[in-house]
């Protein structure tokens, strides 16, 4: 599932701060957290690992078929909002 801009203004139900950490931690922890969340809830992930934002997250979320939205919040810093849909 492609990126969805409509998630930009949605208030997250859960947050995950993995700033300063590299792969596979950001995507592995996000995956674990999503597993525990209810369908329809939104997870917000803070990361500064560009390689994960460009590669690992999109591939994992496309496989899970979860809509997501990436916002650049600073130099090399990103926020990813993910909606659990199934």
């Amino acid at each position: 599932m492609a990126e969805e801009k409509s998630l930009e203004n949605v208030k997250p139900d859960e947050t995950l701060d993995v700033l300063g950490e590299t792969c596979p931690i950001p995507e592995a922890m996000a995956h674990k957290k999503l597993n525990k969340m209810k369908v329809g809830q939104v997870l917000e992930v803070y990361t500064d690992h560009a390689a994960a934002v460009e590669n690992s997250f999109p591939s994992m979320l496309n496989k899970l078929n979860y809509p997501y939205c990436v916002t650049k919040t600073g130099p090399g810093e990103f926020t990813i909002k993910i909606k659990k849909t199934s």
Binding site: E21, E27, E54, S56, N62
Partner: protein, 392 residues
């Protein structure tokens, strides 16, 4: 021109290109395999396969065409044996714990990830641990394993696959390169085609990714992994030719061995490891001064390659607006990276190199070392991924 100056200049510039390719192309073996295991995504892997395929084919042509004579090329051939299997398992687990192989480590540390600086420190500690504890023990292990012939391939010419398969035939390297390089290249191109096909189907459009764009050249966006892979291969060819046509003659490309030698610089005022410790005595690295305040020479061209690769990665991270000192919120990550660094250092010493020095150079030198290194490297990274998924 002074041949030393020429060799160091060319290799220094090659390092800058290498650093740019790593940082911009996100060329990390751990990233590639994690994406494969976690989401069956092959984007980064395609770039690495392309790098291997193109460079192996180029080396085969260079050797078979006599640009670098086989007799000279064979001097750089890595010995292969049980230690590749054991070392790469530990190395793979270590880099998996840190989330960065030796190439990934350089670009991440160069982009400001402090946890990877801890990995760098762990590698130095691991190198010393190996030298003082494991090296004497491995002499014992050598003795045991020499009695098991199938685990101990003979070093030197015997491990040069073209010689083993085709004797002294001048076309030998090219045929071997065609087999191994062709395999990597075809697999890389196939995975790219398959990925594009899958995305096209999902989006209902004919999806393609450009190899190079103006925005990539202007550092506005990351390189496509395929561009990173092509630059990877170009650097290997430059280093190979520069080594042969200038001073050192032996073409070898490594990262961990020259980096691990930094511990000898740090400890120089206290102990001259090169004269006192067996592992360093056996090393091909030149002896350095025990006086810190004298000018310490860059030991081998590869040490300079490591330094300029680092500089290249940092430069492109700054130009791309991605350099930032990054401190993990969970301080336990420093401990994980330190332990992972020790595994990385010890594993690389046992296997006589890392994913660059033994795996890639192994294939480029047509040695069995690369082939033996690969399966347990992947196994080690897989185990580290599963371990982290279980504990975090």
């Amino acid at each position: 021109m002074n041949p030393y100056f020429l060799e160091y200049s060319i290799i220094g510039i090659a390092g800058l290109i290498f650093g740019a390719a790593l940082e911009r192309g996100r060329m990390c073996f751990v990233l590639a395999t994690n994406n494969m295991f976690m989401a069956k995504d092959t984007k980064i892997l395609e770039g690495i396969l392309l790098a291997f395929g193109i460079s192996i084919l180029a080396f085969g042509i260079i050797e078979s065409a006599g640009i670098v004579p086989i007799q000279s090329a064979v001097q750089g051939v890595f010995p292969a044996g049980w230690y590749d299997l054991v070392g790469s398992l530990l190395f793979g687990f270590g880099i998996g714990l840190c989330g960065a192989c030796m190439s990934g480590l350089i670009f991440r540390a160069g982009s400001g990830f402090t946890q990877n600086w801890m990995q760098l420190f762990g590698i130095l500690v691991g190198t010393i641990f190996f030298a003082f504890i494991i090296f004497p023990l491995t002499n014992f292990l050598y003795w045991i394993l020499h009695t098991i012939p199938w685990l101990n391939l003979k070093p030197g010419f015997a491990d040069y696959i073209p010689h083993e398969w085709f004797g002294n035939a001048v076309w030998g390297p090219f045929v071997v390169a065609l087999i191994f390089g062709g395999l990597f290249l075809i697999l890389g191109l196939y995975l790219t085609k398959r990925r594009f096909g899958k995305i096209s189907k999902e989006r209902g459009v004919n999806y393609k990714e450009p190899i190079i764009t103006w925005d990539m050249l202007k550092f506005k966006e990351a390189y496509s992994p395929r561009l990173g892979g092509i630059l990877f291969a170009v650097v290997a060819v430059i280093v190979f030719l520069a080594s042969y046509f200038t001073v050192h003659k032996v073409a070898y490309m490594g990262v961990t061995t020259p980096y691990g030698s930094f511990d000898t610089y740090i400890l120089a005022p206290f102990i001259n490891l090169y004269n006192t410790v067996g592992h360093y005595k056996a090393s091909f690295l030149p002896k350095i001064s025990s006086n810190w305040f004298q000018i310490v020479p860059v030991a081998i061209p590869m040490t300079l390659l490591v330094i300029t690769t680092f500089a290249g990665s940092t430069t492109t991270a700054i130009l791309g607006g991605e350099f930032k000192w990054r401190v993990p919120k969970r301080k336990i990550m420093f401990l994980q990276n330190f332990i992972g660094g020790i595994f990385t250092g010890v594993g690389a010493r046992i296997a006589l190199g890392c994913n660059i020095g033994t795996l890639w150079s192994g294939f480029l030198m047509f040695s069995w070392a690369g082939m033996l290194f690969l399966p347990t490297l992947v196994l080690g990274m897989y185990l580290a991924l599963k371990f982290q998924q279980a504990i975090w």
